[in-house]
Structures are given as structure tokens and as C-alpha cells.
């Protein structure tokens, strides 16, 4: 049963992510769709990332009228799906997960027990927006990891150009895999795009919830769910709505739980409302 789940969710996720890379790299050649995550246009219909809109508006110190409608569409999707983008769309996230699996074999794992810091990403986001306002900085592409891959691939495959994108990608890779060595720490703790998406995911469909009746964490100090969580959500403890907004719906906790205590709920209630034996250690630091 557990093996079936591994095969299904992980293969499905990898296939989704990889096929999107091909879609974004190849569709412009057929005139079907142009752009990528920062701004996407097909058949006269445009979607644009809310973070890009915010940065451009702050940088130019005016409301970028052309981007309002496209941004609202993207914002609506984000409010409902949350960091689904990070789990099922962003190829950088998947790349970091796999490369971390490799480095773990070489160097061993760091930070198994303590859930990582996850709120710094909001500070990075704030710094980014501040620099937009103060310096007119709108290099959104630098902070949109999926775009780095999509455009790097497009430029390489279609134009034979090795762009700046690959260099920025390498920086993210070095920070996460070599410097932090926690596996997707970039996504959980530093990514400003991830922060923007987290902050917007008010509805946040499909998040995990622990059935405290079945959970064996208290008895055996299990904490498998939070160990496998790439977003460092301390699921074995009480989790607020605010923390749950970082969930990327990778379904790892659901898959790996040894006693099937994790359920995926359509609507998140956090787990703070649940009664039961919950450890209340300070989980963030």
C-alpha cells in the first residue's frame, strides 16, 4: 500500500513538473503560448504574477494598469491553491529535492529533529519590495525560480544561448544544496516567490491534518511527517493556519506516515482547533 502511494504521487509529480518544462520551452515555437510564470499570454489572454505587479508598481511608483487584470487572475488561483505551484509546478523545487537526496548520501543529513526556520522568506520578500520602491529594482526574473528553468531551457533549445538564468539557478543550487544542506531550505526559508504565494494562500485547499487518535508521535517520538516535509511544517505539533500556508501539497506526509494518521483535507482548519494529546514545544527555533 505504502509503495503504491510512493509510486503514484512522486511519479505523478515528477511527470507534471517535467512536462511543464517542455510545454513552456516548446509552445512559443508553435505560437500557442508565450512567457512563463512571471507573465503568461495565450490567445490574447494574459496572466501575470502578483509579485511582479507589486514590484513593477513600487519601482515605477505608479499603478501598472496593464497588469491589474492579469494579476487578479493569478492572485485568485494562488488564494485557492496556495503553494501547489511549489510542489507541482516549480522544477527548481524538484531539482533541489533530488539533489538533496544525493548529498544526503554523501554528507549525511543535517537538522533532522529541529524543524527549520521558515519565516525568513517573508523578510526576504519585504527586502525585495523595499528595494523595488527605493531603487526601482524590478529584476523579477532573478526571484522567480521556475522561470529561470523555463527560460533557460527555451533560450538554450530554441536560440542556442546560454542565458543569465542558468547562473542565477546555480546560485540557488549552491545556497540550498551546499550551504544549507537541509533539502529545499531555499523554498521553505528564503524563496521570495514562495513567500508571496504562501502569504496569498488564504483558502489553501488540500492540506494535511493529523488524526491525533492514531498518531504515535507522543508514544514513539515518531515525527516522520515533519521530517519528510520539504516545507518544514511541524505537523506533529499544533500547526496554525499561518504555518500551514507554506504547505506545497507534495503529499509526502500522507504517504510516509507509518500509521496512516495523516489525512488530506479539502479545506484547511489548521490543527490548532483539534483536541488531543499534542506536544506544545516551541517548534520554530
Amino acid at each position: 500500500m505504502a509503495e503504491m502511494r510512493i509510486a503514484r504521487t512522486e511519479v505523478l509529480r515528477a511527470v507534471t513538473v517535467l512536462s511543464l518544462v517542455f510545454v513552456f520551452a516548446l509552445t512559443p515555437a508553435f505560437g500557442l503560448m508565450y512567457g512563463s510564470v512571471s507573465a503568461l499570454t495565450f490567445g490574447g489572454f494574459t496572466i501575470a504574477a502578483p509579485l511582479g505587479f507589486a514590484m513593477a508598481s513600487l519601482a515605477t511608483r505608479s499603478l501598472v494598469v496593464d497588469l491589474i487584470a492579469p494579476t487578479l487572475v493569478a492572485a485568485l488561483i494562488t488564494v485557492v491553491l496556495g503553494r501547489f505551484l511549489c510542489g507541482w509546478v516549480c522544477p527548481v523545487g524538484l531539482l533541489l529535492e533530488y539533489s538533496h537526496a544525493l548529498t544526503e548520501k554523501v554528507w549525511g543529513r543535517r537538522g533532522i529533529e529541529a524543524p527549520g526556520r521558515t519565516r525568513e522568506k517573508y523578510l526576504v520578500l519585504a527586502a525585495l519590495l523595499a528595494s523595488s520602491l527605493l531603487l526601482g529594482f524590478t529584476a523579477f526574473y532573478l526571484f522567480c525560480p521556475p522561470d529561470l528553468v523555463y527560460r533557460g531551457t527555451f533560450l538554450l533549445a530554441m536560440r542556442g544561448i546560454v542565458g543569465l538564468d542558468l547562473a542565477v539557478l546555480a546560485v540557488i543550487f549552491v545556497i540550498d544544496v551546499l550551504a544549507l544542506r537541509l533539502g529545499r531550505s531555499w523554498c521553505a526559508s528564503l524563496c521570495p516567490l514562495g513567500a508571496a504565494v504562501s502569504g496569498l494562500s488564504l483558502v489553501n485547499l488540500l492540506t494535511p491534518e493529523v488524526d491525533r487518535e492514531r498518531c504515535i508521535d507522543l508514544d514513539f517520538n515518531c515525527a516522520t511527517c515533519q521530517r519528510v516535509c520539504p516545507m518544514k511544517i511541524p505537523l506533529a505539533f499544533r500547526v496554525s493556519h499561518w504555518t500551514m500556508m507554506s504547505c506545497n501539497k507534495c503529499l509526502k506526509c500522507w504517504r510516509e506516515c507509518p500509521v496512516d494518521a495523516v489525512r488530506i483535507r479539502p479545506f484547511s482548519r489548521g490543527s490548532s482547533g483539534r483536541q488531543g494529546p499534542v506536544r506544545t514545544r516551541d517548534t520554530q527555533d
Binding site: G52, A56, S62, S131, F137
Partner: protein, 198 residues
Amino acid sequence: MRVTRRGFLKLLAGGASILALSRLISMKGRADVVRPPGAIVEEHFNSLCLRCEVCLEVCPSKAIVLAGLEDGISAANTPKIDPLRGPCEFLVGRCQDSMRCTKECPTGALQPVGRDEIKLGSVELDRERCIAWLETGECLVCDEVCPVLGAISINEDLKPVFHEDKCVGCGTCVYACPADPKALVLLPRGARRVAWPR
């Protein structure tokens, strides 16, 4: 989460160094890049452009490329015209009915403009490289391909003379120039840019 004093100071230092670093990088465009048609004034261009690359992807002649670090960090990955890869075909060719880049730009960094208002820059002739001027051969390719009346004239010695005021900077002649290295270079000199905010 408890924010420790040390952590707070670390973040403060990090933020300050990011700001200081960004200060070093001038975000005002240096205006030495040839932009696609309908580009807004250089002062705001780098701030409005999201670097989504839609313009590059829709360009049928592949004339639009991305500015690199050599054009300034602030301009990195913004679109520019590279006539060596293709001419901007807004006068004749695949874009004479509608300019794809200005139509598809999601941010408005490229604005829809009338064909007559466009001047991307102007072409400069290097007589040290020109086949006709060097008298290594008879060559009038630039004059033959030029879509603009009066931008290139031929003097009595059968040598091309460029007129900056008439040239619209489409780069057709640069693309076609048979000299190696090219005798022509497209410069943003005299470019007409769209005022912003509108």
C-alpha cells in the same frame, strides 16, 4: 517563533548589505541599448519590464535578444534588438501588419505605436570596413534592402552615404551587410521613445 536579538541584528545587517549593494547598481537605464518598437523612456523601462521574455518569444525574425550584464546589471535580461540575428520587420516583412512584441507585452513597457512614429535608433557606417568605400569591390546591398526612402543615398563615386535623420534603425541593412566584420552598426542614437506614464 521568538526573534532573538542576535537573529534580528543578523537580519538587519543582511538587509542593510543588500540595500548597499543595490545602491551600487544604478537602476536608471544607460540608454545605450537599442530597444524594440514602442519602448517607453529608458528612465522607466528597467523598472516596468518584468523580463518575462514574451517579446523575445513572439518576434518572428528573432531580432529581439536579451541584454546581458555588459549592458548594465539593471538592464540584464531586458529586451534589445540585435540586427545581427535579424532585422526588426515593422516596416516590411512579417510585422508590417501588426507588431507582435508591442501587442503581446503584458506590462506596457512596449506600447502600441504607429509605424510612422517609430525610430529605434540609427545606423552608422564604418568606411574602414565598407566594401564600397575600401574599393575592394562594388557593393550597394545596404541601399538595395533599405525600406526607408532617403535614409541611404549613393554618391557620384557609387558609395553609400547614411542619413541619420531619415534612418529608423530597423537594422535591415546591418543584417544584410556582406562585409566581415560588418561595416554597419545599429546605435540607439536619436531613438524616439514613448512617454511614460501615459
